[in-house]
């Protein structure tokens, strides 16, 4: 059974998550609606079909190398099976996209793991303006609702107003926060946070970091230092580093993911502002080049709109939408 019918089957029994279906509405219109139209317009697979398909993939930010590879594979398959219709080719393509994501392996559990008596530490990293601080607030909200005792550390001591911004969120969510002075060494804030988390028996410490361009070597080194400081203070704690990437980013997202994971291990990706873009393909392109799993995606501005990434939900919302309504 192809993936397409598998998804239809799976979601005929249960409704797709509304946030996915809504948040990916624009991507769906730009991607699967165009694919469907493509199949309708072409009776046979020919050069025109493949050229248009290339346009659709690249315009959805699937990425140049992955797009070209998918098309090459599809061409090969159509040679082996000359009877293949455009509709079948579309389904084949979607299967291949699914496989390209899954074959990278890794755990399917995207939620943070907690161990009794230990503080789970989460470092949030990324380039400037991707939505790190807002994502921290949303994750803190999520785990507070699950009854966790949470501490925030305002490690962005560089950008004007960053500490205040996180402070306001802490107040709104009624969560404790550790801050340092403006332009203080971010590692000292990380240290203070780790120390307080250990002494106060917190379940989760979330550390904010300043946005940085991945080309600035000294700033990238600073991230490694923050991590080492935390490791020293909380030696047996699980430490996660999430790289936050803006969904409207193009091919540079890959360069960001590469550079950040070289500087210190990235254990997951958070994609923000997914609802604002029609280019849902970025998830596949980053997975293809980096392999780090997408853990959470931002599908809207509300606190509960940062949701755990679920490949089936994602593909269903991207490809099928909600036909049963």
């Amino acid at each position: 059974m192809g993936l397409f019918s598998y998804l239809k089957d799976k979601f005929s029994k249960k409704k797709g998550e509304e946030s996915y279906v809504k948040g990916l509405a624009r991507s769906r219109a730009a991607f699967s609606d165009r694919l469907a139209l493509l199949a309708k317009r072409h009776a046979k697979l020919g050069p025109d079909y493949f050229e248009e398909l290339e346009t659709i993939l690249i315009e959805s930010d699937v990425g140049v190398s992955l797009s070209l590879r998918l098309i090459d594979e599809l061409l090969e398959k159509s040679r082996q099976n000359p009877e293949m219709t455009p509709t079948e080719a579309n389904e084949e393509l979607i299967d291949m996209m699914f496989v390209s994501y899954v074959e990278k392996g890794g755990s399917i559990v995207n939620e943070l793991a907690f161990e009794p008596g230990k503080t789970t530490v989460l470092l949030m990293e990324g380039v400037n303006g991707v939505g790190k601080t807002t994502s921290i607030a949303k994750l803190a909200y999520r785990y507070k609702k699950q009854g966790k005792k949470i501490l925030l550390a305002a490690g962005d001591t560089f950008r004007a107003g960053a500490v205040e911004q996180l402070g306001i969120w802490a107040k709104r969510l009624d969560i404790e926060i550790v801050t340092g002075k403006a332009n203080a060494d971010p590692s000292s804030v990380a240290f203070d946070g780790a120390k307080k988390a250990r002494e106060g028996g917190y379940d989760l410490l979330i550390v904010d970091t300043a946005g940085r361009q991945q080309t600035k070597a000294n700033l990238m080194a600073e991230l490694g230092k923050m991590r080492r400081v935390i490791e020293k203070e909380l030696p047996s704690s699980p430490i996660e580093s999430f790289l936050v990437i803006d969904a409207t980013t193009g091919q540079n997202g890959v360069s960001q993911a590469k550079a950040f994971s070289e500087a210190s291990p990235v254990t997951g990706i958070v994609i923000t502002k997914m609802d604002g873009t029609s280019k849902g393909g970025i998830i596949l392109s980053i997975r293809d080049e980096i392999g780090a799993p997408v853990r959470f995606i931002g599908l809207g501005e509300k606190m509960e709109d940062l949701v755990e990434f679920d490949l089936d939900e994602y593909l269903h919302a991207l490809l099928v939408g909600d036909e049963h309504e």
């Binding site: 380039v127 960053a162 361009q213 409207t248 980013t249 091919q251 540079n252 280019k279």
Partner: protein
């Protein structure tokens, strides 16, 4: 720099073309495919890529073969001209504030594109041109956005309008405008909240403000790393507020900035400014021709010269040059020179502007800058006599200097060795200058 990867590809491509003796349909095919992938990987919009390729092809095949120009040079020229056209042809200048009448500027864009930081930079940009500037935040949504702008206003030394976060942004804009007018300001910069182009309520809000306050410039912030969607975003904002231009932000990362290439072509909106760093001074006018040269790996000498002019005191420079040539070069002079270079910008940024000197990694740059700080600390720990006569330094002197500067004796010896080398080079240049010839390997340009 933003277009680095693209220029690397172009250079490799042109190197290959050098062996061919004419542009033909056949040898162009591979070149065009390379260009296509390179442009797409740089986030140039797919429609723009197609148009670009067909234009380049047409011009290349139709161009007359002259003996003096090699096919690769010919292709460079064609690509250069096409990129300049894509980036907007002529420079389009920002409308500057006039004395005696208030000009309103409004910055709009998606979340996280750099509006607030750019508002701060723009205020300094105008202040340097002797305008009386007021900053005002209309961002009552993002927590601490108003605080952020207040801090930047303080850093830039411009006036700040205290926005009440409970007030409607339309009312804030109106009140800020009245205050700025009453108090005789030349420029009022309105920083708006980030918004999605599909958020109707918020899009209506800036539409209303633009209608009411009639900005002389309504600028859209576009992140250099923006993907294929950037053009749609620009179109949506333009429909609502009638944009006057685009500012590209975060050009200091390695994002290739292809979205910039696309926006002018598909929307007609000119790129007016580019932001190239995190400091307030890092905002520049956008020059399409210079950017094209940078894309093609030709370096950007004009920008370098302009930066140098801004940073270097000419008299100081002349004095230093004379000293160098007279052979009385001291450690103090060397430090002064290094500082002068530092004022122009980071070493890495400078190297990127010099043709034929493209590859300095960020790591090397920070190493060089750390070395400069070591150097400064050491010299500052010397007596003035020692600075002029480093040859007298003995072990005991060095121990004292090492203690004073917090560096090691090895650091001191390394610096002294470098000084000796520089001095030798100066003498050599002096000799060559007298003989009227240039030393071998000296760059001709």
């Amino acid at each position: 720099m933003a277009f680095e990867a693209l220029s690397e590809r172009f250079q490799a491509l042109f190197k290959k073309m050098r062996k061919e003796d004419a542009l033909t349909e056949k040898n162009m095919e591979e070149a065009l495919r390379e260009i296509k992938v390179a442009l797409l990987e740089s986030d140039v919009n797919f429609k723009v890529v197609k148009a670009f390729l067909s234009d380049v092809k047409e011009k290349a095949l139709g161009s007359e073969v002259t003996r003096t120009v090699s096919p690769s040079e010919q292709l460079i020229k064609i690509c250069h001209d096409e990129i300049v056209t894509l980036l907007g042809g002529e420079e389009s200048e920002l409308a500057l504030p006039k004395k005696g009448k208030l000009s309103v500027y409004m910055l709009v864009g998606l979340q996280g594109t750099g509006k607030t930081t750019t508002a701060g930079k723009l205020s300094l940009f105008f202040k340097k041109k002797d305008s009386k500037v007021m900053l005002c935040s209309l961002d009552v949504y993002r927590p601490a956005a108003i605080d952020q702008l207040r801090v930047l206003a303080g850093e830039a030394g411009v006036a700040f309008y205290e926005t009440d976060p409970k007030e409607n942004p339309r009312k804030v804009a109106k009140a800020a405008r009245k205050k700025a007018e009453d108090e005789g300001f030349d420029a009022l910069i309105l920083d708006t909240a980030g918004r999605l182009q599909i958020d109707e309520a918020l899009m209506d809000e800036i539409g209303d403000i633009a209608k009411e306050e009639r900005p002389v410039e309504t600028l859209l912030l576009v992140d250099a790393s923006a993907g294929q969607d950037a053009v749609n975003v620009a179109k949506a904002f333009n429909d609502k507020v009638r944009l006057t231009g685009v500012v590209i932000s975060k050009l200091d990362g390695d994002a290739k900035g292809g979205s910039a290439l696309s926006i002018k072509y598909l929307t007609g909106l000119p790129i007016k400014l580019s932001a190239t760093g995190e400091k307030l001074k890092d905002l520049e006018a956008f020059h399409p021709d210079r950017m094209a040269e940078r894309i093609l790996g030709m370096g950007d000498v004009v920008t370098l010269v302009e930066k140098a002019q801004e940073a270097i005191d000419e008299k100081e420079a002349e004095k230093a040059a004379k000293k160098m040539m007279s052979g009385e070069f001291t450690l103090e002079d060397m430090l002064k020179q290094m500082k002068m270079v530092q004022k122009i910008g980071s070493l890495g940024a400078i190297a990127k502007l010099i043709p034929g000197m493209p590859k300095i990694s960020e790591e090397q740059t920070s190493k060089a800058e750390a070395e400069m700080r070591t150097f400064e600390a050491i010299i500052n720990s010397m007596t003035p006599y020692e600075r002029r006569h480093p040859e007298i330094l003995r072990f005991s002197h060095k121990n004292r200097i090492a203690k004073g500067s917090g560096k090691t004796n090895a650091d001191i010896n390394r610096i002294l060795k470098r000084f000796e080398q520089s001095k030798k080079m100066m003498e050599e240049m002096k000799r060559y200058q007298k003989s009227g010839k240039l030393p071998p390997g000296f760059p001709m340009r």
